[in-house]
């Protein structure tokens, strides 16, 4: 159940290319390393290939059968000319000579194996390191993007989905180069090289390989769309499952309170089953493709072996075997047979590998598209091109004809105008859902208004840098969100260089100092998950302290005292009034005692400002909304 829907494109060559090109910026910083890695790969690969060919000839034809050496082989093994072939019929190496050749060959093999193992391991480690760096860059970029996306996106998305994208989908980038570019290229090169080499033995073998390509392409065309669809299903199903787990534990109290454990288990089972089925179908599809190609390829190997055996028996000359002096494959013999058979088997295996990789690549590109999807979302709230510095002393804040809706249809704010001056407290009052919190979110640019502007000292806030703006406004949110960290770290969240004294002072103003001091480790007490060990009133005061510590010219308190008892509330508010002498303070509240202390009261009704004034003026208006509101609250009170 993805709330933010994304289309996955077909794996056409063009789309693959586009995805690969998009990965380029993440690869570029590692380019130096990637090139080094590739070169190391090519060098080891070439060494392996040549030494394999020469070793095969030496071992099979020379050591085991006793045929004399080619001149170049003699040089390689540091043996004299008596080992070298003269071209006469029936010549052979002596047993001692064969042993010498073998011993020296094995010395080479040992040295080679040591070097290869060491370099193979190191190159592998090097690769892991490079790709981790690339993945880290992408992950961080995605998190950055997620942090920057407006709350409008976040209110539609599931946290688990983002976790899955950042974790699992982003990891696919490390394989783009490897799986979509290098491995297929290398495999194709191998296959190409294999066909050439076979042609070098006999053009018929080359032709046989080429003919096999036709059914292979058909198989690819049949399976590709199936694999892509199942890959997408698998990733979506897993993302849903991640979301499910995350949400259950984020709302675990509700699950417990409603005794919904078994219902949650049922839903978990369902999601988990879906995810597993999708993974199963994907794997079976991939295996069927690679298996069909493998069987097909080895069918060809069997045919080729029959042909080669008959050529060997009749000692037919190989096609171009004579031209290469380092191996003795001028006519079909044991070594030539082993080499050619090995080659054609290798070619078949490579083709099947390509199929497996192709299946993997489909999954990988689906993952990559999901990762890019997050990056592609345009943050609605954008930085200005040429930001203005936030003004020194703040004189005023104005909302000018602001309109806003979350979904584009249902207006939440309809033409709101309001201004507040330095040194005043403005209370925002109104019924539930009238847009009070939204009004404040716009000031922080958590969203941008659809129409109208918000100005500070006459400058539209869209002209300031976002971080600059937000660092000059402090807000205590209604939800009292805390982080799993110590009390002091929570108060000093996202600030730098605040001394312990400043933190304590902020806590004192918020009337939190007393209960913090009673905690086991005082300010260093670690809060539970999201501060769940505190009572709501305590959390509320911590969020207020956090806002105060930021020492900003503008302060917003969203229902700051809803969970405080009257005595604490009075204390907090009088402290804040004292503290906020030269600042602009906004209070969103229902409480009469709080409202009365404000210099200015703005009454919001259905998305517009119905009345503005102080308590006395507003009460004077007989039919006023505010008067009715106060009576509703006080009528039952007194």
């Amino acid at each position: 159940m993805a709330l933010v829907v994304q289309e996955i494109q077909a794996l056409t060559f063009k789309n693959v290319l586009r995805l690969v090109l998009r990965a380029w910026p993440y690869y570029r910083p590692q380019l130096k390393h990637i090139i080094t890695y590739l070169l190391l790969n090519v060098v080891t690969g070439a060494l392996l290939l040549t030494s394999g060919l020469v070793g095969n000839d030496l071992l099979n034809n020379k050591v085991l059968v006793g045929t004399p050496l080619q001149p170049a082989q003699a040089t390689l093994l540091f043996v004299d000319d008596s080992y070298v072939t003269t071209g006469e019929e029936g010549e052979a190496l002596t047993e001692d000579q064969r042993r010498t050749v073998r011993n020296r060959l094995f010395v080479w093999a040992f040295i080679g194996a040591l070097l290869l193992m060491a370099s193979f391991s190191l190159v592998y480690y090097y690769m892991v390191w490079i790709f981790q760096n690339i993945n880290q860059d992408l992950r961080v970029k995605m998190i950055e993007q997620a942090e920057n996306l407006s709350l409008r996106y976040h209110s539609d998305a599931r946290t688990g989905d983002a976790i899955y994208r950042v974790y699992q989908d982003s990891a696919t980038i490390t394989n783009v180069l490897q799986q979509v570019v290098i491995t297929p290229l290398r495999a194709v090169a191998w296959i190409f090289w294999g066909v050439i080499l076979l042609t070098f033995f006999s053009p018929w073998l080359g032709l046989l390989c080429l003919l096999t390509a036709v059914p292979v392409v058909g198989l690819f065309m049949y399976f590709s769309p199936r694999i892509r669809v199942s890959a997408q299903r698998a990733r979506e199903a897993n993302s849903d499952l991640t979301s499910r787990i995350q949400e259950v534990f984020a709302a675990i109290r509700v699950v417990k309170a409603n005794r919904a454990e078994s219902e949650m288990m049922r839903r978990f089972d369902e999601d988990s089953g879906n995810a597993l089925d999708a993974a199963f179908v994907l794997r079976v599809n991939i295996v069927l493709l690679s298996m069909s190609i493998l069987v097909l390829g080895f069918g060809v190997v069997l045919i080729a072996e029959y042909l080669m055996a008959s050529w060997t028996l009749s000692e037919t000359a190989t096609f171009l075997g004579g031209v290469v002096s380092i191996v003795g494959f001028a006519y079909w013999n044991l070594g030539a047979y082993q080499s050619a058979a090995g080659n054609i088997a290798q070619t078949a295996r490579q083709s099947a590998d390509v199929a497996q990789i192709w299946g993997g690549a489909a999954d990988l590109l689906v993952g990559l598209q999901r990762a890019y999807f997050l990056l592609d979302l345009e943050p609605e709230v954008t930085e200005p091109d040429d930001p203005v510095t936030f003004p020194g002393p703040v004189g005023s804040v104005n909302w000018q004809d602001v309109r806003f809706s979350y979904d584009g249809d249902t207006p939440v704010l309809k033409s709101v105008s309001l201004s507040a001056a330095a040194g005043t407290i403005t209370a925002i009052v109104g019924s539930t859902g009238s847009g009070k919190s939204t009004l404040m979110s716009l000031l922080l640019r958590l969203y941008d208004p659809d129409e109208g502007a918000i100005c500070i000292n006459g400058t539209p806030i869209t002209r300031f840098g976002i971080d600059d703006l937000r660092s000059n406004i402090a807000i205590a949110l209604q939800q009292n969100l805390l982080f799993t960290a110590s009390v002091a770290d929570n108060i000093a969240y996202a600030t730098k260089d605040r001394s312990r004294d400043e933190i304590i002072e902020a806590a004192r103003i918020a009337c939190a100092d007393e209960f913090i001091a009673e905690m086991p480790d005082g300010y260093d007490t670690e809060l539970g998950e999201r501060g769940s060990k505190l009572s709501t009133g305590q959390r509320q005061r911590l969020t207020i302290a956090r806002a105060l510590l930021r020492d900003t010219p503008i302060l917003i308190l969203d229902e700051p005292t809803a969970s405080l008892d009257a005595e604490t509330e009075r204390q907090v508010l009088s402290n804040i009034a004292q503290w906020g002498k030269d600042r602009i303070v906004f209070l969103i509240t229902h409480r009469l005692s709080t409202i009365r202390s404000a210099d200015q009261i703005a009454f919001l009704h259905r998305g517009s400002i119905a009345e503005v004034g102080n308590h006395e003026t507003l009460m004077a208006s007989e039919a006023g909304h505010y008067r009715r509101f106060v009576h509703a609250e006080a009528g039952t009170d007194q």
Partner: protein, 658 residues
């Protein structure tokens, strides 16, 4: 976050002692192995397929030898001193006397049949491997659906399918169990448990269990079986000619174990660190996304980004350590195989040069040797791999073993028709803080009781006792006179609906959120609950009404609206007891009035408890319990309590009204 305190390096708060001794490792392995009982059928299938799959490849070295000696080099059968194994006799009887090309034709035909059926000659083994990332989490996801077959062809595909299902079933059994346990952790433990950590354990730690099961059952069994067959063949055919070959081959397995076993503890620790560090990264990410509005409004984006970058970098680094170690182990064992391999090659080639053996024997012997070497390497690595998995499994079993709430017998006949009585109840938190002292009071059905008191008085703790989120440290709680101390939480919570102060909604439709509380509720029940909670009007104004899908934790609605959905959810359950924690805090006075009126109506025949600060709500309660500092200071109606001029309640009210 303090990095100095060792146990907080990965900000784990509960699971802090991560050392595993070898004995504990053995126990964990045993428990993982026992999970196989859940998948007997699939396991038997896998076993049979693997067993049959061993047979066809046995032919290959010998037919290969015939191709070299009898076809290509055109030697007659029986020239070499090496005996063919007995199972080759029928085939040799057919082939003997044929022309080389006819021999070739017969062998290739056999190959072709076996190729389609078993993938013989095609290099065997198929796996379900997809591409993977370079950290523990992404690799685990693949392990969840891992499978392989030593055969390929039609047979191999079927075996693979059985194997994948087997792996999935095993992992799923365990992760369902873990999920159940985590959801059953007591409230006080959940406060300390990080959400990201739970996600990581369920998603990425459990998939490693099947690997343990295989590495303890099928894998070593077939490795040893394969090795024994290879050894037997070597002994049968080559023992008389070159006995030392057999000894070298047999010595490889113990050698690999000697090299790797002493390092297993080290490997375990590296892997534990890699996983804990991955979980820490998940925590950071989850928290920062979940608290996104706080992060953005406090300008903390950069701070969060840096924190994530640091954690993620750390988890990659830990993975690299563990990877490097694995590589080193691989190189060491590989080195031994190569050295032994060269020795084998020298022996064999000497015999061939001396004429005791034919060139075809070289291929057979070397093939057998490679098989054995591979097995030895594999067995050496099994042990190391097991250690890797033990680290993950320990993280899973840790919570499965953690003391949890007992669901108890749902059918036990607990009722609340009359009263709930708290009999001298005290509660103190596990860290020693005293929350409630000697609470002695009675709640009656048909009454609306308000719990009132200053912040931190213990109101929520008191309310938490009723649905057994907390269990009293002293004293008893009686439902209709029955002590609930020994009653399971399910039976208790069937009687009590609790609405929290923080509104927690799932990102699903409103309907689905309500049905969570009571899956059997009818359309009318839902409607009634929504209307009673005063949410009818705005729910109707939503584009899809009750089927509107809410964003993450209901962020599309205002706080007051979410609060009313939560109240509706509490009502849908239709339990005799309803506890509301500050239901009206975020509501404007008119909405509040309407809500309290409908709650009063709903309270007829129920026991309703409201925690409240607002006088307007409190005054309408039938009875008020005034708490301060964890003790009951006064009980009575608004009027009686106000009559006491020196009473704490009157002082409290006066402060409120000013």
């Amino acid at each position: 976050m303090s990095e100095t305190a060792n146990e907080l390096v990965f900000n784990d708060r509960i699971d802090t002692d991560t050392q595993i001794s070898s004995a504990e490792a053995m126990v964990l392995l045993g428990r993982s192995f026992a999970l196989l009982r859940h998948v007997k059928g699939l396991f038997a299938g896998k076993f049979l397929f693997a067993l049959v799959g061993i047979l066809p490849p046995l032919l290959i070295p010998w037919t290969g030898k015939i191709v070299v000696d009898q076809v290509l080099l055109q030697k007659p059968f029986g020239e070499s001193e090496v005996r063919f194994p007995p199972f080759m006799d029928p085939l040799i009887a057919i082939l003997e006397g044929n022309t080389p090309l006819a021999i070739m034709g017969t062998i290739l035909t056999i190959y072709a049949v076996l190729l389609v059926l078993f993938g013989v000659r095609a290099g065997g083994a198929v796996t379900s491997g997809l591409t993977q990332g370079h950290d523990s989490a992404t690799q685990s996801e693949l392990a969840l659906s891992a499978g392989s077959s030593q055969s390929s062809g039609i047979f191999g595909v079927i075996e693979l399918m059985i194997n994948i299902r087997l792996t999935q079933r095993l992992a799923n059994t365990l992760r369902t169990e873990l999920f159940r346990k985590l959801a059953r952790l007591p409230m006080t433990t959940l406060d300390d448990n990080r959400i990201g950590d739970s996600v990581y354990r369920i998603m990425y730690d459990t998939p490693l269990v099947p690997e343990i099961c295989f590495n303890l059952s099928i894998a070593p069994l077939f490795a040893v079986l394969g090795a024994m067959i290879s050894l037997y063949l070597m002994q049968y055919s080559y023992g008389p000619v070159a006995p030392e070959l057999v000894w070298i081959a047999a010595g490889l397995i113990p050698l690999a174990l000697i090299l790797t076993v002493p390092l297993s503890g080290f490997s375990r620790r590296l892997n534990q660190a890699s996983r804990a560090s991955g979980a820490a990264t998940t925590n950071t990410m989850e928290e920062s996304l979940e608290n996104i509005s706080a992060v953005q409004s406090l300008g903390g984006s950069r701070h969060e980004r840096e924190r994530f970058a640091r954690d993620s970098d750390q988890s990659f680094k830990r993975f690299r350590f563990s990877f490097l170690f694995g590589q080193a182990m691989f190189v060491v064992s590989m080195f031994c195989t190569v050295v032994a391999g060269i020795y084998v090659a020298i022996l064999v080639s000497d015999l061939i040069i001396g004429g005791t053996m034919t060139p075809g024997d070289y291929a057979v012997l070397f093939g057998l040797y490679l098989q054995l070497g591979g097995t030895a390497l594999g067995i050496g690595m099994y042990w190391i791999n097991l250690q890797t998995n033990v680290a993950a499994v320990r993280r899973v079993f840790f919570f499965i073993d953690y003391p949890s709430e007992t669901p108890g017998d749902i059918h036990s006949r607990l009722t609340v028709q009359d009263t709930i009585r708290l009999d001298h109840v005290s509660y103190h938190y596990p860290d020693g803080r005293q929350a409630l002292t000697d609470i002695d009071l009675e709640f009656r059905v048909g009454e609306l009781t308000a719990i009132v008191g200053p912040t931190g008085a213990g109101k929520t703790s008191l309310a938490y006792l009723l649905p057994a989120f907390l269990r009293p440290s002293e004293g008893r709680i009686l439902f209709d006179g029955i002590d609930i101390a020994d009653v399971g939480v399910d039976a208790i919570r069937d009687q009590v609906a609790y609405v929290f102060q923080e509104h927690m909604l799932l990102s699903e439709s409103i309907r689905s959120n309500l049905l969570l509380a009571n899956p059997t509720a009818s359309e009318n029940d839902l409607r009634w609950a929504i209307d009673t909670a005063g949410a009818g009007q705005f729910v109707d104004s939503l584009p899809q009404g009750i089927d509107t899908v809410m964003g993450r934790r209901g962020d599309k609605l205002s706080v007051g609206q979410k609060q009313r959905i939560c109240i509706a959810r509490g009502l849908v359950r239709d339990t005799p007891v309803l506890v509301l924690d500050e239901p009206t805090a975020a509501l404007d006075p008119e909405t509040e009035n309407a809500l309290v009126t409908s709650l009063q109506k709903a309270a007829a025949g129920k026991l309703v408890i409201v925690i409240a600060h607002r006088l307007s709500t409190i005054k309408r309660a039938d009875r008020i319990v005034f708490l301060d500092n964890g003790r009951v200071r006064a009980i009575g109606s608004h009027e009686t309590l106000m009559a006491d001029t020196d009473g704490p309640y009157r002082r409290y009210v006066e402060l409120q009204t000013g």
